[in-house]
Symmetry: C2
Subunit: 242 residues, 2 copies
């Protein structure tokens, strides 16, 4: 907490938490985390990686049927557990991945954690099928949201009372940001950084990591590629709600 001008803006989020669970999608976590790592060099931020236990958590989902590459995966190390989370989280980010489609009882700890934390958060952000955990926690009920287009049918089935937006790179409703599949999380986090910390910081980070951002939340060629059915909700524009 040094002389950064941002410390004077006391309403800026500081404490970021990232949920992880077995079978998380690597880029759902590290796509948004990379620009946040860069942001943390200029803005005071804390990061907690919150998992089922403090044991390393693998991208490889242990219950998936044997594949041709049974051991191909990477493990990240949690700093906290769902049972002993950090205090005063401002932002919670929820990734998707094959593990999120496991039987409901294996999701319950994550779902309960989202439900418990949401009332205290400044922002809740999901990537890809991470939206299913938000939906099952009930926090998306009556809200507009999006999720992966490749796994649209299953993920949207977890939230029958959600106004799913079928063509959107990301959707903002109140303080909940939901992004489309995997790589969309990167565009989503840049849009969020622009929104919270300013476009100048966001652009600087994007140029440093040589990323050409999609800045239009309605950009979504994948809705058509994956034959996502349009609906009444499809008429609503993507992005920030009024």
């Amino acid at each position: 907490m040094s002389t950064s001008i941002d410390t004077q803006a006391s309403d800026l989020p500081v404490n970021i938490g990232y949920i992880v669970y077995p079978g998380f999608q690597a880029l759902d976590v590290f796509g948004p985390l990379d620009p946040l790592n860069m942001l943390s060099m200029e803005v005071p931020l804390n990061l907690s990686i919150i998992g089922p236990t403090l044991e390393p958590v693998s991208t490889k989902a242990p219950l998936v049927a044997p594949t041709v590459s049974p051991d191909f995966g990477q493990s990240i190390v949690p700093t906290h557990t769902f049972a002993s989370p950090p205090k005063d989280l401002d932002v919670l980010i929820v990734p998707g991945g094959a593990g999120s489609a496991y039987p409901l009882e294996l999701q319950q700890a994550q779902i309960d954690f989202v439900k418990e934390q949401y009332p205290k958060l400044k922002y809740l952000i999901s990537v890809c099928t991470g939206a299913s955990l938000l939906a099952r926690a009930g926090v998306l009920d009556g809200k507009r949201a999006t999720t992966t287009k490749a796994g649209w049918a299953w993920t949207t089935s977890t939230g029958p009372n959600v106004n799913w937006v079928p063509k959107a790179r990301w959707v903002v409703d109140g303080n909940i940001w939901t992004t489309s599949g995997v790589a969309a999380g990167i565009d989503g986090i840049f849009a969020w950084i622009s929104h919270v910390y300013g476009e100048e910081r966001s652009l600087k980070i994007a140029n440093t990591i040589e990323l050409e951002r999609h800045t239009d939340p309605s950009y979504d060629p994948f809705a058509e590629i994956w034959n996502v059915p349009t609906s009444v909700a499809a008429q609503a524009p993507a992005g920030q709600s009024a």
Copy 2:
């Protein structure tokens, strides 16, 4: 090693190794790894994460001067060490990051490992400032290569005998693929997957993770953004050499 048709093509690479070291850039590792995770569901692949020790390795570089966010980072768990690497690596991928610009003596283990492994590899791939480790290992001498545009001057200074290509998303010379900064590694790995396993697999993975690839190796708006000086080498086309 089941019935995948790919097992019949015995010259396809199987054993992939990824170097990690303190202060690696998160997306340099997990950008390429995410599509490789997807590929591993269809093609028999092994992955080794190779670090200085078996202790978790953080994106946070321990020697960097104090910042406003001293603890912001994530740790990945190595499966092997430079001293006890996996046998018979086919592919070695080398990320960049702030840690690669530390004093030379802190790079020596990584440099020696690249030098030792290169003659046995089918492919050597670098992301961002990871090219400095290849350059210092001498394996880029006389070859065409590229690297981060934001850190162009320092990285190219590590390889005075390299034909650096100042405007390129990635460059292929023989069996060495060097990619530009951070996010360019994602485009580079997709180009490599197309080259080795076919465009159909590559496109399927890209659509699943909702990534619009840059498929032109000469795409590089960042060379101009970062005022990278052009040179004689700039006249050579990017991408696959003859």
